[in-house]
Amino acid sequence: MADTPSLPAWEEIEHTADWALRVRGEDLRALFENAARGMVSLIGGEASPAGAVIHRTISLHAPDWEILLVDWLTELLYLIEDQRVVFTHIAVQRAADFRLDAEVTGRTNGRFDKYIKAVTYHNLVIRQTDKGYETVIVFDV
């Protein structure tokens, strides 16, 4: 029997006023990494050659996985708005015990076509599936 094609790590799904992403990962580390990459790809952005390269280590802790996911994506949104960072590298090293450790690299002073105001908790549930983890994240735009 042929292998079934693997499902995308993230995909945009229909939402009338805002943006919504379905995100998958073989484990929680991958889910968090894919969520960040999906959000960054939704926003787009053009790096500025004149921008400075920045590297950040991000460590977060939250009462549950959903809050940790919102905190993580919110942290990246802040860097996008505050320094107009276009990310070139996003790696989550660890997601365990409601803690996350990640490293991101990007270039400041980018140009963006799209804007996300915030990451919402709307119906946010991280579900375990037979292939790993899955969630749907709604962004206020």
Partner: protein, 482 residues
């Protein structure tokens, strides 16, 4: 949600009884025509309306206006009133863009006078009113000044020379919510906000130069200084990164507060705390600071717009001055007194994508508006009409003094992005005589008129239901977007 689950109460009013779902505390009511109800049933918005009916301490009904569409937590177009003494306040119910709202300025300029200068005027407005992602404004504020702005809102702008006393008199709450406390906002909110005063932002925010193409109520229009054939300007924006951060901070804090107070909810974004709890009061003080930020922000933008009009039109038209018609919020929680079951009680009215629409006689209105009712500003989609309405006695009776806030989306952003090209849309709008200045073509495509409901139908419903009265219609001549 199916149409058969909804009872029709009158031509434009529908009800989902509290028995529809076990966790509903009050019935849910929706203002719509048949056509707008079909639109609303096309996404999750009516389910979201039912979710709001589960919040503790609500009185009468959870309501939705005819521009209802799917949001996060509350539907856009949602209104609930919770008892101030025993009910809740919900940061998610106000949303991230606290005091997103609309300001309308009017003028004596007529179409023939402005037409030769529209292109230069649009470019000047685009240049003087910074827009786009994380854009910094021209004001460099010190911490002390910013603290004053958060406590005083538009009053701060008056002291700094960005406003006239008449502007403040024609702003909801005089442009200042006194319960604001800058001590309740995070360092990050402060950092995001201090650099963005006087900026438009991105998304659906805009500045629009309009023609007043029809007047429906001469008395009200005269009181506002709106004359057929003359030019008006709309500003649509809110509290920028400051408000977004205040909401982000408190939605997170309330995730644990809700558990503490034993509040069970169908959606985590509806998170809330008792209004009189320490958490509820802290959020309310921070929300008021964000509301003041938005009032000041629209005031500084109005100042830039007046300067742009002067720079382009002085000496070329008879009178280039712009006076304020009104400034109104459409994302806010307000402590108000309303009649419930024959008694006047204090409630926290959450309006998420809905406008306050107080009727004649309300003391907070300037004398010239007390007889006509509070102006309601309803922007349409880009390329279609916008409306100026007034609140009515009926809106006080039926909807806690609330009405619609815009056209309401009907097409998803994803679909708009797939099917509409920004460049083609700009060409099409320019062919219709609308000058466009936009920083982002994909962003422009998502805001295409096809993505929105028919604003005229929305206004037909609110005026047919009696929860607002038509005053004037505006049509766009130039649109400035981030």
């Amino acid at each position: 949600m199916r149409k058969q689950d909804i009872n029709r109460l009158s031509e434009y009013l529908w009800e989902i009884p509290a028995t529809f779902r076990d966790d509903m505390r009050v019935p849910a009511r929706l203002y719509a025509s048949e056509r707008l109800l079909e639109d609303a049933l096309g996404d999750q918005s009516v389910d979201q309306l039912v979710n709001t009916a589960t919040l503790p301490g609500l009185v009468q009904y959870a309501l939705a206006m005819p521009d209802i569409h799917q949001g996060y937590g509350f539907p856009i177009g949602g209104v609930v009133a919770s008892r101030a003494d025993s009910g809740i306040i919900s940061p998610g119910g106000v949303g991230f863009d606290i005091n997103c709202g609309v300001r309308v300025l009017a003028s004596n300029i007529d179409l023939e006078e402005i037409r030769p200068h529209l292109s230069v005027l649009a470019s000047t407005l685009y240049q003087n009113c910074p827009s786009g992602v994380g854009k910094e404004g021209s004001l460099k504020l010190k911490d002390k000044d910013f603290e004053k702005l958060l406590h005083e809102g538009a009053k701060w702008a008056l002291q700094k020379g960005y406003a006239t006393p008449e502007d403040l008199a024609r702003t909801e709450e005089g442009g200042c919510l006194k319960a604001a406390d800058s001590g309740k906002v995070s360092k990050r909110a402060w950092e995001r906000g201090i650099e963005q005063v006087g900026t438009l932002g991105a998304g659906n925010h805009f500045i629009e130069v309009d023609l007043i193409d029809e007047v429906y109520d001469e008395q009200a229009a005269n009181a506002m200084g709106l004359y057929k054939g003359r030019i008006a300007v709309q500003i649509h924006c809110g509290s920028r990164g400051f408000g977004h951060q205040v909401c982000t901070d408190y939605v997170r804090d309330f995730q644990t507060a809700s558990q503490k107070y034993g509040i069970k909810l169908p959606d985590r974004e509806l998170i809330c705390a008792p209004f009189h709890s320490p958490e509820g009061q802290a959020y309310y003080a921070a929300m008021c600071a964000a509301a003041n930020y938005a009032f000041a922000n629209r005031q500084v933008l109005a100042f830039h717009i007046r300067r742009s009009f002067e720079a382009v039109l002085a000496g070329k038209v008879r009178d280039w001055s712009l006076w304020q018609v009104y400034d109104i919020a459409h994302n806010m929680a307000k402590v108000e007194k309303h009649q419930v079951d024959g008694k006047t009680i204090e409630v926290v009215v959450h309006r998420k994508g809905a406008t306050r629409a107080f009727g004649p006689g309300f003391e907070g209105l300037p004398p010239e508006y007390r007889i006509i009712g509070q102006p309601v500003l309803v922007p349409g989609s880009m390329g279609t009409a916008s409306w100026v309405l007034v609140g009515t006695e009926e809106s006080m009776r039926q909807t806690f003094g609330s009405t619609c806030h815009g056209a309401g989306r009907v097409m998803s952003r994803n679909e708009a992005k797939r099917t509409i090209r920004g460049e083609a849309l700009r060409t099409e709008l320019e062919k219709e005589g609308i000058t466009i200045r936009a920083g982002s073509m994909p962003g422009l495509a998502e805001e295409a008129p096809q993505a929105y409901k028919d604003v005229d139908e929305v206004v037909k419903v609110v005026s047919g239901a009696g929860i607002a009265r038509k005053v004037a219609r505006l049509i766009p001549l130039a649109v400035i977007k981030g």
